[in-house]
Each structure stands twice: as C-alpha cells, then as structure tokens.
Assembly symmetry: C2
Homo-oligomer: 216 residues x 2
DNA sequence: GTCTATAACGCGATAGAC
DNA sequence: GTCTATCGCGTTATAGAC
C-alpha cells in the first residue's frame, strides 16, 4: 500500500507539473498556438506519457481551467468568511480575476465556437466547478439586486455572464500592452467601466432601456 | 480595354463571393473550425483558384474583417449626417454592431494571441480602416467626455477598446443561445450593461475609483 | 493561359510498437 | 521513454479541360 501510495503521489506530482506548464503556456500563447510538443518539452516527459494522463489537448486545457476554477472557488469561499456588501464581494471577485490575468496566469481559450468549447461543456469536472461558482456568485448577485446596489432591470444571468466575460476581456490585454498604466490603475479602470458603465447620468438612460428589458 | 474590364469584373465578382462565404462561415463556426476546403466547396471553385485571390487562410479572414469594417465606416458616416449627441451616436454604433452579431454576420476570430492577430496587424487594408474608424469614434468619445455624458475619469482609449470588445462580446452569444429574449431585448440589455454598468448609485463608486485612475 | 481536379508535402495531434 | 504510423488540414505543385 505504501508503494501504491508513493506511485500515486509521483503521478500526482507529474500531473501537477503538466497542468502548471499548460496553464503558463495557455496564458502566454493561447490554445491554438500551444503545441503538445511544447508542453512535453517544458515538463520534460515523453508525449506518450502525457497521453497517459490526458487523452487530448482539449483535456489539457480543461485541466488548466479546473485549476483556475478551484482557485476562484477558494477565493470566493475566503471572501464569504468576511462580511461585506454583495456588491463589494462581486467587485472583489472581479478584481481577483484581473489580478490573475495581469499575473499571466489566466489561460486564454477561444470563447466562441470551437472544438474546445464542446470538450469543455462535456467535461464533468469543469462543469461541476463552473456551476458551483455560478451558484455562489448568483447568491451575491440576487442579494445585490435585492438591496438595490445592482441593476434589477438586468436579468441575473446577464450579470453573471458579464462578470465571467470580464475574466478574459481582451481590453485588459490591450491596456497592459500599451504599457502606460500600472496594474493597479488597469484594475481600477476596468472595475469602473464594468460596474459603473461608460456613461454618466444613468437615470434617463436606464429608464429608457427598462421599457423593453422589463418585458422579459 | 473592354475585355480587361470584363475579366476584372469577373474576378471581382468571384472575390466578393469568396468573401461573402468566408464571412458567413466565420460567423457560424469561427476561424479555427472553418476549413479552406469548406470555403472552396461553398463558393464552388478550386482550391488553387482561391489561392490566386488570397495567399493564406489569414488573408481570407482579413478580407472578411475589411468588409465589416467598411460596413461599420458606412454606418458611422450615415450617423454623422444626422445631428445627435455624441453619447447617442456611440450608442447607435454599439447597437449596430449587436445587430450585425445577431444577424449572424459578424466574423468570430480569436481575440487573443494567435497567428491571425499577427496577420491582421500586418494587413494594411485592415489597419487603415481600423484606424480610420478609431479616429471617427474618438471624436465622439472626446466630445462625450467634454459634454459630461461619458466618464472623463476613463482614458479615451479605454472607451474605444471597450466598444470594440463589445462588438464581439461572448455575452451576446450566450443570451442568444439561451433563447429566452428577443433580439431587441438582448440589445437593450447589453446597451444598458455596457453604458450604464452593472451597479446602481455610481457616485460613491466612481469617486472611490477615480483616485487611482486620475493618476494616469 | 486560366480554371479544375487531384496528389503531394509539412506540421501537429493522436495512437501504437518496442 | 523512443520511435514510427496515421490522420486532418493548410499549402504548394502537377496534370488535364476549355
């Protein structure tokens, strides 16, 4: 039993090393520019060994996403320990995702139609964590809409999707590449544009848009 | 001269047909899922003929982007004929891009690192149009910041990038896929979340965030 | 000559042999 | 763990049809 445990530990360590490499490469180059050969070269193992752990390139990406989702879930659980208004909790989560992006640790995957999307929605570990995270964020969203700090005219899913989308918004990469703002400034800018919107004087605008939105 | 003109016309018509097919396939399946074989099958020409017009798959995508940028420029020029506040002009442009998306005519390209990005920034026709569009939108953005309808705390480029990013925001696709909102409702929802932000009561929030943003 | 059809080459993902 | 094979796809080259 000690041997088995040891062997399993070795496998686990290797798997962690693979996922770490994949995560870094995905953040650097994106899914299509990352080749499996790069991964095995980076980890220092043979291609066949990698395919013992993961059955496809898509599985590799899914493992990296599972990793960041676990980190996100841990961050959310940590935030739940501290009492704060729902809006502030959501802002803190958004801030955390931007920090991950700025640290170069957010995998960049094609968000639209692709074989990868299909593989992800079919991936149980990924979907379980995504749904759990959605549930946790959904609580804050509904609480925020109830206490008036979040727009109740917007369907809760829209708030959820928008927050998820900001976790890989290309605008952050553009600002980072421009190089004229500090990381802290970029985060403040994007939090403001996301939660506060682009325009001032929301009253008239919100009233005008509410007409149709309410019909949902 | 008539012969040359006729031949050129034939080439032009074929090129238009190619770009139209590419545009549709890009909107349907995205760049990586679209194969060159599909394109030639759809147009009904031989592969070699296609490569006479476009030297690579990336060039095909660039041609499709040039097409939508030309449509966008035409729409902006049309809007400039009609007097309206800068904020309303920008909202109208954002609305137009969402209509294009909902009509299934917006090419979906990987927005992040990829060979395609490199090809696009090196593509003169694409970059010329993109810069021209940026200039035109920039005028409205600065005017909107000057008249107080757009947040002056945000750098103008941030507003520009954010509008561009909304033109291919995955949130629209998610709402469309959910199927529970009409096209008009989706547009109103996204305009509100983009220009109005997710939260209500922007005063305190804006004041808090402005501290650091201003340091830029 | 220009189009079409088809084959061929390179590269990367995947799988199996040793 | 290395090596080799296959397959898909982008790309190029070849050969035939009008």
């Amino acid at each position: 039993m000690a041997k088995v445990s040891f062997r399993e530990q070795v496998l686990q360590v290797r798997e962690d090393a693979i996922v770490a490499s994949v995560n870094r490469l995905l953040a650097e180059k994106g899914f299509d520019l990352m080749t499996v050969d790069e991964v095995v070269a980076d980890v220092g193992i043979a291609k066949a060994s990698l395919y013992k752990h993961f059955s496809s390139k898509e599985e590799l990406a899914a493992a990296a996403m599972v990793r960041v989702l676990d980190l996100a879930l841990a961050e959310v659980e940590r935030l739940r320990q501290q009492p704060a208004a729902p809006l502030e909790q959501l802002r803190a989560v958004a801030r955390w995702t931007m920090q991950v992006q700025l640290a170069g640790e957010m995998p960049s995957l094609p968000s639209q139609n692709s074989t990868l999307r299909a593989a992800l929605v079919a991936h149980k570990g990924y979907m379980d964590r995504l749904l759990r995270l959605s549930d946790l964020l959904g609580e804050w969203i509904e609480a925020g809409q109830a206490d008036g700090s979040l727009r109740a005219e917007l369907p809760p899913e829209v708030l959820l999707y928008t927050l998820f989308a900001r976790a890989c918004d290309p605008v952050l990469g553009l600002l980072k590449a421009a190089g004229q703002y500090s990381d802290a400034q970029i985060i403040d800018i994007l939090l403001l544009s996301c939660f506060g919107g682009l325009s001032t004087g929301q009253e008239a605008q919100a009233a005008a848009a509410t007409k149709r939105v309410r019909k949902a």
